[in-house]
Structure formats: C-alpha cells, structure tokens
C-alpha cells in the first residue's frame, strides 16, 4: 500500500541548485529516450533529493501501514482469514524492506531514514493516521486502500529511476493478491448477515474521506509538478489518478449494494469524468502535520519497537566473540 506522491519538498527558488547544463541535457535526453537512470549515473541534485524523499515516504508508509492492519491479525475470524492477513501484512513489511533498499541506492542509509520517520521529519501516507476500528475496516483497507495504491504504483513503475521501478513491479504483483483478498472479505461481509453488512458499510463510510484524500490535493493547488513530470518522477496528476480509481472502483462498490457518503458522487456521461464533493483539504493538511487521530500512537509504537530492538541491532554489529584468557 502507499499514499500518493503528494508530499513533495517545497524548495524555494533560492535553494535551487544549478546543475551542469551539459550533464543535465544528457540526463534529460536519456529520460526522453525512455531509458532508466541507474544508481551510478549522473543525476540532478533535485532529482536525487525528490526521489529519496518519495521512496523513503513510500517505505515508511509500508511499515506504518502494517500497524493498523497488524492489530487485526490476532483477531481475524477463522484460519483462512488469519493466514491471509498475516501473509498480507508480512508482504507490506517486505515492501518496506525493498523500498528502503531502493532508497539506499541514492545514498541515504536505512537507519537515517528511520530516524527521520521517528523525528517526524519524514512523512508517511496520511491514511495510516486513521484507526482501523472494526474487522470491517481491515476489509475496506485491504480492498480499497490497496487498490488506490496499485493505481499509484503502476503509474510510478513507469518512472525513470531503475531501482524504484523494479521494486514497484514486484510490489504491484503482490498488491494485486491483497486486493483480491480485500475484495473477497468485503464481499463476504456485504452479502452476509445484517450485522456483517452494517460492519462493512460503517467502515466504508468512515474510510471514504481518507480514500478521497489518498491521491493528494487537487491539481489546481498542487505545486511544482512540472519538472518532476519531465523527469518522470511523477507520471500522472493527483486528479488523474483519483479519476482512474473512482472509475474502476465506485461501480464495484455500488454493485455490492453499499453506499458512499457523498450525494454528489456521479459520473458525468458527457465528460466521462467523475464529479464529487471535494473532501476537507484543511483536515488533510492538519493530519499530515501531526493532528490526525493516530499520528502520535503510530509514532509511539514505532519508537518503542526501535527502542526495544536496539540491543539486538547492536549485537549484530559485533562479530561473534569468544572469551580469551588474558595473557598475564
């Protein structure tokens, strides 16, 4: 899973680094030819910086995303669901590992990235700052958040940085199983008893605003994407990806007889575009900046895990030692 490429670094023009024009032209020509940029190739400083930021945030989203779903592994009803959810969340942690490796090829060590996550300097997908209150929430997350992530990741996998694209290709394959699992779980609830149905409907209503937030602010207020588009760091606008998601999944949601909490949500047959009520973007920015219902909890859990595991990591840095009798 992953929350879109919306948290770009707001570097001011004064900070803009002037790259060697000849090298820059060669770099851009390479991207135009559809070739991948590899770790040892020359790249503009901004390109490196934005990619580190983006891949790192993606990695953080995977490991923080494991927390709300992880709490339901121990409560999953029955062997089939329990085994599937364990495997799914394990995949997400594995994606984190893959992505940290990809980001490390750009020169930032995993420890430093994790430290930036813990200090709040580096962000992760906003959706994980919301709680998974019931089993219905885990079903909605596994289906729709993962579906949204796939829209985003399939797009990004066509990008220009080789190691990130290769990681994304593998991630997308695994995510497609998550989506099937999530869809299956939602179908069982939506076609089950009134209690089960209510459970999934309430979860869907709760998760709709974060899902609409998932791809980031509308294009008209989203900044500095032009250069990133040219460099194939960003490949589709937030609104394009949101439209693609709505087009693929709203009909499937309605097919199950579930409703969405937006009376204005409809497809305009003339334009082919979905119309909807803009979600509360002030809330989106408040949550990103730490005021969501679960920001503090997520970081506290991650901090505790880091703290509790420190002795283990230290022990790994030491070679296995044998006691030797001092010579005296």
């Amino acid at each position: 899973m992953y929350g879109g490429g919306y948290i770009y670094d707001k570097s001011s023009p004064a900070e803009q680094h002037q790259d060697d024009p000849a090298k820059l032209a060669e770099f851009e020509a390479k991207i135009d030819r559809g070739e991948k940029i590899e770790p040892h190739d020359w790249m503009p400083r901004d390109y490196r910086k934005q990619l580190i930021r983006m891949i790192e945030q993606h990695a953080h989203s995977e490991i923080i995303g494991a927390l709300p779903e992880g709490t339901w592994i121990t409560r999953a009803p029955g062997f089939r669901r329990k085994l599937a959810l364990m495997a799914k969340v394990q995949d997400e942690v594995g994606h984190g590992q893959l992505l940290y490796n990809a980001a490390e090829t750009l020169g930032k060590p995993r420890e430093e990235m994790i430290n930036d996550l813990l200090s709040g300097k580096s962000k992760y997908s906003n959706v994980f700052n919301y709680p998974a209150k019931t089993w219905g929430d885990t079903a909605v997350i596994a289906w729709l958040i993962d579906a949204a992530a796939i829209v985003n990741q399939v797009t990004n996998s066509k990008g220009s940085y080789g190691p990130y694209c290769r990681a994304l290709e593998r991630i997308c394959q695994e995510e497609s199983f998550h989506l099937k699992y999530g869809h299956d779980t939602v179908v069982y609830l939506a076609t089950g008893t009134p209690t089960q149905r209510a459970m999934v409907q309430e979860a869907l209503t709760r998760w709709w605003p974060p899902i609409m937030h998932f791809f980031g602010p509308p294009d008209k207020v989203s900044v500095h994407t032009e250069k990133l588009m040219r460099w194939k760091v960003k490949l589709a606008s937030n609104d394009d990806m949101r439209q693609q998601f709505l087009n693929m999944y709203v009909p499937k949601i309605w097919e199950l007889g579930l409703t969405l909490p937006d009376p204005n949500l409809r497809k305009n047959d003339e334009t082919g575009q979905w119309e909807y009520t803009e979600p509360d973007w002030d809330e989106f920015f408040r949550v990103i900046n730490g005021e969501g219902p679960c920001n503090a909890e997520r970081l506290a859990v991650r901090n505790a895990a880091e703290e509790n595991g420190r002795w283990v990591r230290r022990a790994l840095m030491k070679p296995v030692g044998q006691y030797t009798q001092p010579l005296c």
């Binding site: 121990t74 009803p77 669901r81 495997a87 089950g192 070679p319 006691y323």
Partner: protein, 258 residues
C-alpha cells in the same frame, strides 16, 4: 485404516489436540511481532514462522475433524474455552522482549522438529503424512533459531546477559512441553508415538551443544520444576486474554462465514 478402539481413539485425540493447540497459540504469539520486530528482517521471519504454525495447527485439527469425528477446524480452534485447551504454558506467555521470544522459539521448535521426526514413522498414517511435511518446514525454523542464539549469546555484554536470563526463565516452561499424557503407554504400544520422555531426552541432547556454542550456560535441569498443568487444561493467566482477543470477531457470529 483399521477401526480404532475407543481407548486408542481417545489417546490419539488427546495427543493431536495438545500438539495442535501448541501450534495455534504459539503461531498467534509469533504473529504479534508483525510490525514490531527489532529489524524488518525479523518481523518477516517471525511472520513466516507464525504462518507455518497456524498451518500446522490447521493440518492437525483437520485430522481430528476427518478421522476422529471432531467439529471443523475453525469451530474447534475458535470456540473451545480455556479449560478445554491442551497447550503447554511455554506458548501462552506474552512475547516479552526479543530475547524471550527467540529463546522460546529455539526451545520449542527444536522439540517440535524432533517430535515430528519421530511421528514421520507413526503407525497412525494421517498423522505420519502431516508429520513428514511439517518436519521439513520446522527444520528452517530451527536453523533460524540456532543462528540467532549463537549471535546474540556471544555478541555484546548486554546481549549475553539478556540471553542467559531468558534461557534461565524459559527452561522450566520448556520442560512443560513434555508433560506426560495419561495415554503414553497406549500410544507407544500402538507405535503411534514413542513418548514425551523419549522426546525430552533427545531434545536435551540437541539443545545442549547449541547452548554451549552460543556461550550460554544450560540451567541444571534436575533442579528445575517443570511448568506442568497445560496438558490437563490448567493454564497461566495469559491464555484467557489471548483467547478473548483471538475470538473477538468470530464470536460475533460463529455460525456464519467471514
């Protein structure tokens, strides 16, 4: 397979339940490391082992269902009450620190590997078949445990001290794995299982060299009081909260598909 006598059946039923319950509860505990491991690689490793354990529990409950007339696996795993479970105390303890979880994993999986090796030749064919599959999987769990025991037992002062304390704390609990069943003679006589005592002896032979290689000291086994009771349905205070959590959703309606 020839018809089972009722005593014979009762012996196998008791035997399968205790093994399956151990796997279910420890699988549950191992899964609690998801997202919280000391490093991502260990999150992933503990999750893999948890999935294997759940799979083993399911395979054993399936034998109970198909050959011994018990209810379906979900029902027997998710609706029995605490007193009906036959797991040992070792698997019930919370995950604690990584030192405790790793030591438990080492001691338990070594015993399980040997148990399923013994059972691969069991006269009760459905169990023998499952055992042949399970022992192959647990081999990797044991290798994982041994690697980490050796690394942590001899790296830093802190890791050595932690691992020794964990071993001291865990050994009496681990001895509870081998609590004798009332049907030991019955199982041995019918070549189903050579017995907990035999397993315990083999286990001690295997763990001793790893503990020594790790630079740790095995506590004096004869001076320890094994944590018995689990096999008779007497559990630690940790089991009931685990069951309450595990069945939270299933209990909303145990008769429907989730």
């Amino acid at each position: 397979m020839e018809a089972l006598s009722s005593l014979h059946k009762e012996a196998i039923r008791e035997f399968l339940y205790k093994m399956a319950d151990d796997q279910l509860i420890l699988g549950h505990r191992n899964s609690e490391w998801t997202g919280l491991g000391p490093l991502l690689e260990e999150d992933i490793a503990f999750s893999s082992m948890a999935q294997d354990k759940l799979g083993h529990a399911l395979a054993l409950y399936t034998i109970l269902h198909e050959h011994l007339g018990e209810k379906d696996p979900d029902t027997i795993a998710f609706t029995r009450n605490e007193r009906e479970l036959r797991c040992c105390h070792l698997v019930e303890y919370p995950i604690g620190g990584y030192d405790f979880s790793l030591t438990r994993h080492f001691l338990f999986d070594t015993a399980e590997h040997l148990r399923f090796e013994m059972l691969a030749g069991s006269a009760f064919e459905p169990l023998a078949q499952v055992a042949r599959k399970i022992k192959g999987e647990i081999k990797y769990h044991v290798l994982h445990a041994q690697t980490w025991m050796k690394q942590l037992g001899s790296a830093t002062e802190e890791s050595k001290a932690r691992m020794q304390s964990a071993l001291n704390e865990t050994m009496p609990l681990a001895l509870g794995i081998f609590e004798a069943s009332p049907f030991e003679a019955e199982l041995a006589e019918h070549n189903i299982f050579a017995g907990e005592h035999e397993l315990r002896n083999r286990w001690l032979e295997v763990i001793a060299p790893t503990v020594a290689d790790a630079g740790l000291v095995l506590p004096d086994i004869d001076a320890l009081t094994p944590a018995y009771g689990g096999r008779q349905g007497y559990h630690t205070e940790y089991l009931q909260p685990l069951l309450t959590e595990m069945t939270e959703v299933f209990r909303i309606d145990p008769t429907v598909e989730w």
